[in-house]
C-alpha cells in the first residue's frame, strides 16, 4: 500500500458536477473517482468508464447452477440410487425443473454478490480512506491523483472556478486495509496545508 497525494473538490449539486467533470477531463487531468451519496446516472460515462460485465458473470454462474442441478440429480436418480416410483421413468426431467430453476437462481445470485464484493474490494471490517465524510450524505466528491507534473494549486483553482464548494489536498492510503472507523485520527489521513 502506498500513500499518494490527491486533490479533492466537493460539489453540492449534480448539475454543477457534470460540466466540472468535463472541464477537468479536457484540461488533461485524470479523475481517480467521484464519490457520490447515490447513483448519479450518466456519471460513469462522463468519467469514461466502461460498462460493467457483472451481469455476464451472473449469467455464467446461472448456467453453472443449471448444469450442477441437472447433472447431480440425473446421476443420483439414474445411476447412483435409481428409485422405482410407481414404475415412472428414472430420468424424470419435468419433475426436476423446480429444483433446477432454484439452483440456477441461487448460484447466479450468490456468485454475483461475491463477485461484486471482490471487484469492489468490500468485506466486513474493510476500511478505506474517505476523502470527505459528507460523500455519503450530500456531497459529490471528485478526487484527482497528483502526478509529479501536477500543479496542485492550479488544479484546486480549476475545481473552484468550476463550482466546487470545497477543495483541498490530501495525502492518503490508496487501497484498503482492515480496520474500524472508530479512530479516524490515525496517520493514514493527513491534511496538507490549505
Amino acid at each position: 500500500m502506498a500513500q499518494k497525494k490527491f486533490v479533492v473538490g466537493c460539489f453540492d449539486d449534480e448539475k454543477v458536477l457534470f460540466p466540472a467533470v468535463k472541464q477537468v477531463r479536457t484540461a488533461g487531468y485524470k479523475i481517480k473517482d467521484v464519490y457520490t451519496p447515490f447513483p448519479v446516472h450518466g456519471l460513469d460515462h462522463a468519467l469514461g468508464m466502461r460498462e460493467t460485465s457483472l451481469h455476464t458473470a451472473g449469467f455464467i454462474y446461472g448456467i453453472t447452477g443449471t448444469t450442477t442441478a441437472i447433472s447431480c440429480i440425473s446421476w443420483i436418480f439414474t445411476k447412483d440410487w435409481p428409485l422405482n416410483i410407481g414404475g415412472k421413468p428414472h430420468f424424470a426431467l419435468p419433475a426436476w425443473i423446480p429444483i433446477i430453476f432454484e439452483l440456477t437462481v441461487l448460484f447466479a445470485a450468490v456468485g454475483m454478490v461475491m463477485t461484486f464484493m471482490w471487484l469492489c474490494q468490500m468485506a466486513p471490517g474493510v476500511k478505506k480512506h474517505h476523502f470527505h465524510k459528507r460523500a455519503t450524505d450530500d456531497l459529490f466528491v471528485m478526487v484527482i491523483e497528483c502526478t509529479e507534473k501536477t500543479n496542485a494549486e492550479d488544479l484546486k483553482a480549476l475545481l473552484a472556478s468550476n463550482g466546487a464548494v470545497e477543495t483541498d489536498i490530501q495525502v492518503a492510503e490508496d487501497g484498503w486495509w482492515f480496520g474500524t472507523y472508530d479512530n479516524d485520527d490515525d496517520n493514514l489521513y493527513k491534511q496538507v496545508a490549505h
Binding site: 464519490y35 457483472l54 451481469h55 440429480i73 439452483l103 461484486f116 471490517g125 460523500a135
Partner: protein
Amino acid sequence: MHLKYESQLREPLVYGNKTYAQVTEDIVRPIEAKPSRLWYIGFFIAVALLSFGAYSVYREVTYGIGQWNLNKTIGWGWDITNFVWWVGIGHAGTLISAVLLLFRQGWRTGVNRAAEAMTIFAVMCAGQFPIFHMGRVWMAFFVMPYPNSRGPLWVNFNSPLLWDVFAISTYFTVSLLFWYSGLLPDFATVRDRAFTKLRKKLYGIASFGWTGSTKHWQRHESLSLVLAGLSTPLVLSVHTIVSFDFATSVIPGWHTTIFPPYFVAGAIFSGFAMVQTLLLIVRKVFGLTDYITIGHIDLMNKVIVLTGSIVGIAYLTELFMGWYSQNKYEGYTFWYSRAYLFSPYGWSYWGMMACNVLSPQIFWSKKMRRNVFVTFFMSIIVNIGMWFERFVIIVTSLYRDYLPSSWSVYYSPSIWEIGFYLGTFGLFFTCFFLFAKYFPVIAVAEIKYVLKRSGESYKPEFDAIEAQPLESFVHDHAHAH
C-alpha cells in the same frame, strides 16, 4: 436512459422542502435517537411472545408431535396453515423491490427497505413450521442431499416437499443478499455521521467499507437490476411450489390446476396487507410521513383490491369446477365441507370470503384508499382472511377422508400449537423492532436518487418544461445526452 423529468400529473414521492442532507437527517435521526417508551413496550411484548413460543416448541421437541391436536386425518393443521401464511406474507417484499424495479415504478423507493425486511423475517417464521413439524428436528438436515453413510440414500427430487426445501432456502438467501446489498450504502451513511466510537465501529463493519465510488455504484446498479430480474421469477416460483405441495396430491380440494396463480395472487394480497400494517405504524412513529406518503398507501391499496379480486375469482372458479366436474368427492369438499355454512368448518369458509373477497372491495373508492384508519383496519382484516384461506384449504379437505370410519373429531388446536404460532409473531416483531431501531427503514440513497425528479419542492421546475411544445420537449428530454 432515464427521463430526467416526471409528469406533473404524478403525485410527488417526497413531500416537503427537502435537500439531500435533510433526507439523510430525517431517515437516520430515529436510529440515532434513544428509542421511545412505546418501542420498549412493543419490544418487550414481542420478546414475551417469542419466549412463550420457544417454550411451546420446547414441549413439542421434548414430548413429540402429540403436543399438538393433529389427529388421524388432519396430519397438517395449524402448523402448515401458519407456514403457508407466513410464506405468503413474505412475498410482498420481493414483489415491491424486484417486480416494481423492473417495471420502473418510482414509488417503490419509499417502501422497499421495510418490505424486504418484512420478507426476510416472515420467511424465517415460515421456516420454523415445517422444520418442527418433522418431529425429530435434530435430524432436519436429512432434507439436504449430501453423500451419507446411509447408502448413500438420497432425498426424493421428484417430491414437491423437497422442491419446497430448495425454493424456500433459495428465496431466503436471495432476499437476504438483495436486502443487504441495498443496505450497504445506507450503512455507510449512518457510519459517516455516527458520533460514538461503538456506532462507528459497528456500522463500519456492517457497511463493508463502502465509499460511494462511481464504479461501485455502477456495479451496484447492475447487481440490483440482475438480482431483481432473478427475484421476479423466483418469487412466483416459490409460492407456485408451495401450492404444488397441495396440488400434486390427490386430495379433493387440493388437486386443482388453478392453485399456482391463485396462491401467488393470495401471497401478494396478504403480503401487501402486512406491509400496510407495518408501514402505517412506522411512518407515524418515526415521523416519516413525507416519504411514505398517502400516495404510497393509495397505490398499495390498489394492489390489494386487484389481488383480492383475483383470489375471489379463484374461489368462485373452484366452486364452479366442484359442480361442473360432477365428481362426488370434489362436490362434497367444495359444496358441503366448505361452502355450506352449517357444516363443521363452514364458518371458516365464509369468514374467508367476507375478509378476502367482499371487504377489500371498499378500496374501489379513492377516499377509502387514502384513509389511513380504514387502510390499517383492512390490512388486519385481510391478514385474518388469508389465514382462514389456508386453514380452509388444509382442514376442510382433510377432516373427512375417503374412509368414513376415520373421519376425525372436530379439530381445534392445543395451547402449544397456538403458542408456536404466537411465538413466530414474537420472532417477527422482535426482528422488526430491532430493524426499525438500528437500520435505516427507508432506502436513503434511493430517495435521494428520486428526490430531484419527484420531490414536491422540485416539481414546479417542470412547469416550464411541461409548457414546451412537443418537438422541443422531445429534443431536450427524450433522448440521452
